[in-house]
Every structure is written in structure tokens, then in C-alpha cells.
Amino acid sequence: MKRLKKILFGLAVPFAVLMIWQIVGSRENMAGIVPTPLAVLAGWRGWVFGTPGLGLNPYQGTWFSNVQYSAMRVGQGFALAALLGIPLGLMIGWSKLVSQLFDPLVQSLRPIPITAWLPFSIALFGIRDIGSIFLIFLGGFYAIVVNATQGARDVERNLVRAALMMGATRSQLLRRVVLPSAMPSIFTGMRIGLGISWTAVIVSEMVAVKSGLGYVLWDAYYVGRMDIVLADMVSIGAMGYISDRLIVFIERRVLRWRILQNH
């Protein structure tokens, strides 16, 4: 009963917003600018389930492939960011030498917004997948590096001493003490980084490639298909949410000790 009440309360405001939107969107002077929720739903259905290639509607039945394009790019760019960012971050946090060598570079490039990299990326890679993946990589990379660095710096001193006392070498210390200690920070960095990666994929697809949710978003706006624009926005949000849940799911498994600690 209590649960039901909670769910109903949670749905009340969004439902009210949808209702107002439906009513306002139905007014004649709003037609073509803000489509009603029902119109968005209808457009979305065609985008998802329609038969491609028929008529003058270029979006029919292309939803899955566009979601797949975007998700693949995010997957690749983000994986690259984690693969390079985690070890580099740990080393910056752990080794004075690596910190002196790399930290100034990372810190001076980090304030440049990823959107500012767009022209440079297109010039370098052309209108190709790799340009988009590069931007997604950059978007995820800084958050992951900075958090992994912090995690490695925050390792409890007595844990390091205990490991040394038991005969651990420096590289064992890094793998068996610093890495697991920094894991909670690394996951924080990955969640933040993944959010930025989704921003990066949309921006880059608008400009640097000819497929994916970001491309459709901008293209639909140009041809005045606002129903597709809104359906696309919701799709992006859903993808971001699902991928974040995926990381949280993995985090819960890897960091069972941490979750127990906080209860």
C-alpha cells in the first residue's frame, strides 16, 4: 500500500506535465512547433516499427539502427577512455614521476570543452566514425583520469604499510592494494565520464557523421519533424539512463565490500 502510494505520487507530476503539454500542443497556433505527446508517440512508432524505404519519410524503421550506431560509438569511445584513463590516473596518483610528467598536460587540456574540439576533430579525421569516437573518448577520459588519480592518492597509508610488511613489491602494491582501494573512485569517474560521453556522441553526430541519434536529431529539426526530434531526445535520455544502470549493476558486484561497509 505504501509502495503503491509512493509510485502514484511519483507519477502525478510527470502525468500532469504531459496533460498540460497535450492541451497546449493541441492549440492551433502551436501546430508544427510543439507536437502533442500523442503525435510524438505516433511519430516514434513509425520511426521504430515502420517499413523503411517507402514514401517520403526517411526515418521509417530506422530507430534501431540509429540507436545501434550511437551506442556502438559510445561503447568504443568510452571503452578506450577507461582503458587508457584508469591506468594513467592510477599512475599519476601513485607515482611522483608519472604525476610530474603527465599531470600538467592533463590539467591544462581538461578545461577545453569537448565541443571546442569539434572543428579540430573533423579536420583531423574527416566526416568519419573515428572523429566521433575521438570526441567521446575525450569526454569520458578526463573524468576517469581525475577520479582514478584521486582514488590512488587516497589509499590508506596503513594498507600500503601492511602490504609492504608482508613482502609486496611496488608493482604488486599497485595491482593488489592501490587498484582495489581506488575502485570506488574509478566507478564514480566512469559514471560521470559516461554521461559526458553521451553528450559528446550527440554533438559529434550532429556535425561530424551522417548516422546515429545525434544526426537524426539535427536532420529532423531541419525538415521540421519535431515529433522525431522529441522522440529522439527521449531516446537519448533512455540510453543514457540504461547505460548508467549497467555501470551501477557492475559496480554493485565488484564493490560488494564497499556496499556492506556503508550499511
Binding site: 590508506e156 596503513n158 594498507l159 604499510r161 601492511a162 602490504a163 609492504l164 610488511m165 608482508m166 613482502g167 609486496a168 604488486q172 593488489r176 592494494v177 582495489p180 575502485m183 564493490l255 560488494r256 565490500w257 564497499r258 556492506l260 561497509q261
Partner: protein
């Protein structure tokens, strides 16, 4: 040859002004001896322990364990930390075998020993628990089992029972005495609790603060094995009075 031989040991922390933590400390610990370092906070007793462990380096003087000058930390000197310092992501079992496993020894060579040590500290039924699922006293017992499995001949204990409640502390002291009777390691035990020092140790070194110095060396006359009743005996109280006098001095 003493297990630990410390001569004219100085430790000064750089700064403005520099802080002298230890001044001309001389200390001999025989193999199998149970030594307590007793003193108020800031007297340098933990610093002294950290120097023996190899966590910090002395400024001058000499510090030998088994005839060798101490450099880095190593498995010959097992440390029990105040807050246990177990790896929270490893189970009790994985924590206990961390040392030999990290050193790449064959599992057959240490697993039996690890089982034995967990039995001695009474944690055989908790092998698969995570440290966070244990009480403070149990965590300290894992910390003890871990260095016993490591095979350390010298055990360095830095106020290991300081954070425990009185009852748990007493049972931990009894456990430690029984472990020591069975395995006869050399123990250096840091504490600010006079009763604890007298109950456990053969020899008590009373330290004074700023700079940290050894003020008095006292042999505890109580016979072994000791029980809690000994802590109310006449000779125990006489020693306690004497140490109180030294500390207030």
C-alpha cells in the same frame, strides 16, 4: 645475540623548527622476549615501532634485527596495526594468506599453517567473511593470524587493543598470551595502558616525551602463565605504583 639491538637511536623530523621524536634510545630485546613500550602519547613509542618495522628511517644510531641493519619493511617483522588494517575487499581467508601468496610461495606450503593460525585465534568459522562483517576484536584477531601465517619471528604491535571495549580487550590480551606461549615469537608491544603492559610483558620500558627517551627499564616479576587474578596481586600493584611515580616524575 639479541633479536633486536638498538643503539643511540635518534629520529628527527625535518621542519622549522625540527622535531626530535627520539633521542639516544638504547634497547635490547632477546629472542622470545615480550617487551612493552609504555608512555604517554607523543613520547615516540609508535615512532620507535615504525623504525623497527622499516616504515620510517632513523636519523642516526643503529637499529639491528637479527644482526641485520633495518632498511625496508619485510615479513620477518610482522606488524599489528591499531585499526587492524585489513584489506576490506578481501575475505578473512584471503587476508590471512596475502603475505605468502604475494611472495609467490606454493599454496601447499602455507595453507595448513593459515588454517592452524585461524583456529588458534578462533576464527575458523569466519574464513569467508569480509572484514566489515566482523567486530573490532575479531578484526584484530585476523590481523594477528595474518602475521603468524607470515611466519614473522618478531611481532610489532602498535596499541592493537586500544580501540576495543574493556571486556574484549581482556580476552584479546589472554589470547595474545596464549599465542605467545605456544609459538614464542619476540614481541614489542606499544601501549599507554599500565595494566596492559604489566599483565603482558616480561620487560616494560617506560618512555618520556619531547624528546622521546627511555626513562626506565623494569622487569615484571609475575610468573608465567599469568591470569587476570595476577593483576590484583601485591607485587603487581607495587610495580604499578612505581611506574606511576616514573611517569609523573
Amino acid at each position: 645475540m639479541p633479536a633486536i639491538k638498538i643503539e643511540k637511536l635518534d629520529k628527527t623530523y625535518p621542519g622549522d623548527p625540527p622535531v626530535q621524536a627520539l633521542e639516544k634510545v638504547d634497547l635490547d630485546v632477546q629472542a622470545g622476549e615480550f617487551v612493552a613500550l609504555l608512555g604517554p602519547s607523543g613520547c615516540g613509542k609508535s615512532t620507535l615501532l615504525n623504525l623497527v618495522a622499516g616504515f620510517e628511517q632513523n636519523s642516526s644510531g643503529s637499529l639491528r634485527v637479527d644482526g641485520k641493519e633495518v632498511g625496508k619493511p619485510g615479513p620477518d617483522r610482522g606488524v599489528v596495526f591499531q585499526e587492524a588494517a585489513l584489506f576490506p575487499w578481501l575475505t578473512v581467508w584471503e587476508n590471512v594468506i596475502f603475505g605468502p601468496k604475494t611472495q609467490g610461495l606454493a599454496a601447499a606450503g602455507y595453507e595448513d599453517r593459515a588454517h592452524d593460525m585461524l583456529r588458534i585465534v578462533g576464527l575458523s568459522d569466519f574464513k569467508n567473511h569480509l572484514p566489515v562483517q566482523l567486530s573490532g576484536g575479531m578484526r584484530q584477531r585476523v590481523g594477528i593470524a595474518r602475521i603468524l601465517t607470515l611466519g614473522s619471528q618478531v611481532l610489532l604491535m602498535d596499541e592493537p587493543f586500544g580501540a576495543l571495549d574493556a571486556q574484549t580487550r581482556l580476552s584479546m590480551q589472554e589470547l595474545l598470551l596464549s599465542v605467545w606461549q605456544q609459538l614464542k615469537p619476540t614481541i614489542v608491544f606499544v601501549t599507554h595502558d599500565i595494566d596492559e603492559a604489566l599483565f603482558l610483558a616480561d620487560t616494560v620500558y617506560v618512555m618520556s616525551a619531547r624528546p622521546g627517551r627511555i626513562q626506565a627499564r623494569m622487569t615484571v616479576p609475575l610468573s608465567r602463565p599469568r591470569s587476570i587474578e595476577d593483576t590484583t596481586s601485591e607485587s603487581f600493584n607495587a610495580m604499578k605504583r612505581e611506574i606511576l611515580r616514573q611517569i609523573r616524575h
